[in-house]
């Protein structure tokens, strides 16, 4: 859970930074997309870097889901009879929604790939440049709203996930706990903000 999560967070950081090319204009954004595919050519075959990243991500996603599924199954077995009355004391919204939030994030990722990578559900269709697809999607308020919602969920997932990963890897203690919590919140908020600037910029017509 922790290791696969960390790998995916590293990807998320790179992805967020890559997205910022959108502010340098259509050409730069599309060139960046090409560059990812042409990286290392001709020494390396076409799409080497991208394929490696894709394999790494796929393995991480599967490992993360498998761990989550076994935890869920264990938890179900661990409480065969439910409480009539059970109240929350400590748990945050983020930690409580981790499991279902994860499922929603998975559905979002599938949509996101169909939208931006393959163009299958994109208003501009499959025969368009990455930049066109991005602008076309975010000019639709419903798609934008869906993205914003999914990203906020992702932020909460990260908020608890970062703390939880540090716990799982045995890196927390009482002294670090406060700092860790502040770091997790700041990092999650910052990263999601970095992602959100793109749809907001399109919505406000800075990028068109």
């Amino acid at each position: 859970m922790a290791i696969s999560g960390i790998l995916m967070v590293l990807f998320l950081v790179a992805h967020a930074i890559g997205n910022l090319h959108v502010f340098q204009g259509a050409e730069s954004f599309n060139e960046y997309s090409e560059w990812l595919r042409e990286f290392g050519e001709p020494a390396l075959p076409h799409r080497t870097l991208l394929t490696l990243i894709e394999i790494g991500l796929l393995v991480s996603v599967v490992a993360h889901m498998w761990s989550a599924f076994s935890l869920w199954r264990q938890a179900k077995r661990a409480r065969p009879v439910a409480y009539v009355t059970k109240k929350r004391v400590q748990q945050s919204y983020a930690s409580r929604t981790l499991r279902w939030g994860g499922v929603i994030i998975l559905l979002f990722i599938i949509w996101h790939l169909l939208d931006m990578t393959f163009g299958a559900v994109n208003p501009d269709g499959t025969d368009s440049t990455p930049y066109d697809r991005l602008v076309a999607s975010f000019e639709n308020p419903f798609i934008t709203a869906f993205y914003v919602l999914a990203l906020v969920l992702l932020g909460m997932h990260l908020r608890h996930g970062i703390f939880s990963a540090a716990q799982t890897l045995g890196q927390t203690n009482k002294r670090r706990e406060r700092l860790l919590n502040i770091t997790a919140t700041t990092f999650a908020t910052g990263l999601i903000a970095l992602y959100l600037v793109t749809p907001v910029a399109v919505a406000l017509d800075f990028v068109n």
Partner: protein, 251 residues
């Protein structure tokens, strides 16, 4: 005070249980929660009913026997044991739901009594040190850093009441196992068996019907001894170290 209690009644493990409503009157705010249940049981005995079975022993907050889910909180609304919870924490006319700990690892015996032997089996799998017996050694012969002894003592205050398991949304026993692993792991006497201990105790915990930890923190928030989440981190740290060192549990 007059109270309405809804108590889980289940005559034996395989019977179907249900919540039964009882009225208790003239409850003093100075009574402990268990004394209030004693009053209820006196009423039930006088009227020829079967008294409510519940676990209790020291009634001083140190044995860990009494554990009840009270209105959805493990050990009730205060962070203490059920026996140290007093009726002044409730108001006249309150309705109180009383349920047993719910866990696959704690099979129900009767009413509010569950079998917590799973905890004993976790302890038996590694929660000890192997030391020759005899007269107590000179205390100064084995120096322990103050920081370590404090942390070990914090973990050692665990009374094994099971509130952590009861409150955990995953039904995990991680806080208990972590407390038992780390209070020995922090002390010099616990070092020879440190790696094997964590591996064996975690394996035994997994063999019981407890859930996995997802670091939600309910356990620590209801722990009557306030054992902190850092003990879980310490267990994970020890476990990773032991696995990396390829420690094989000695028989």
């Amino acid at each position: 005070m007059n109270l309405t209690l809804r108590v889980w009644r289940q005559p034996h493990p395989t019977a179907k249980g249900k919540m039964v409503t009882y009225k208790v009157s003239d409850v003093s705010p100075d009574m402990s929660f268990l004394e209030m249940l004693d009053v209820l049981n006196e009423q039930l005995i006088l009227s020829g009913d079967d008294p409510v079975a519940f676990d209790h022993d020291c009634r001083e907050g140190i044995c860990g026997s009494c554990g009840l889910m009270i209105n959805g909180y493990a050990h009730g609304p205060e962070q203490t044991t059920t026996c140290q919870l007093h009726m002044r924490s409730f108001k006249d006319g309150d309705e109180i739901d009383i349920e047993p700990w719910r866990s696959g690892g704690f099979p129900l015996i009767k009413d509010l009594v569950v079998d917590r032997s799973a905890f004993d089996r976790i302890i038996a799998s590694g929660g000890f040190i192997s030391a020759p017996t005899g007269t107590a050694p000179e205390a100064h012969a084995t120096p322990v850093p103050k920081k370590d002894s404090d942390a070990a003592f914090d973990a050692a205050t665990c009374i094994g009441c099971g509130a952590c398991v009861a409150a955990c949304p995953n039904g995990s026993a991680m806080l208990f196992t972590a407390a038992k692993v780390s209070h020995l792991g922090l002390l010099p006497q616990g070092q020879p068996e440190r790696d094997a201990r964590v591996i064996k105790m975690v394996a035994q915990q997994d063999a019981e019907d407890f859930g996995g930890c997802s670091n939600i923190g309910e356990c620590s928030a209801v722990c009557p001894k306030g054992i902190s989440m850092e003990t879980i981190s310490r267990l994970n740290h020890d476990l990773l170290g032991a696995l990396r060192a390829n420690a094989v549990p000695a028989s």
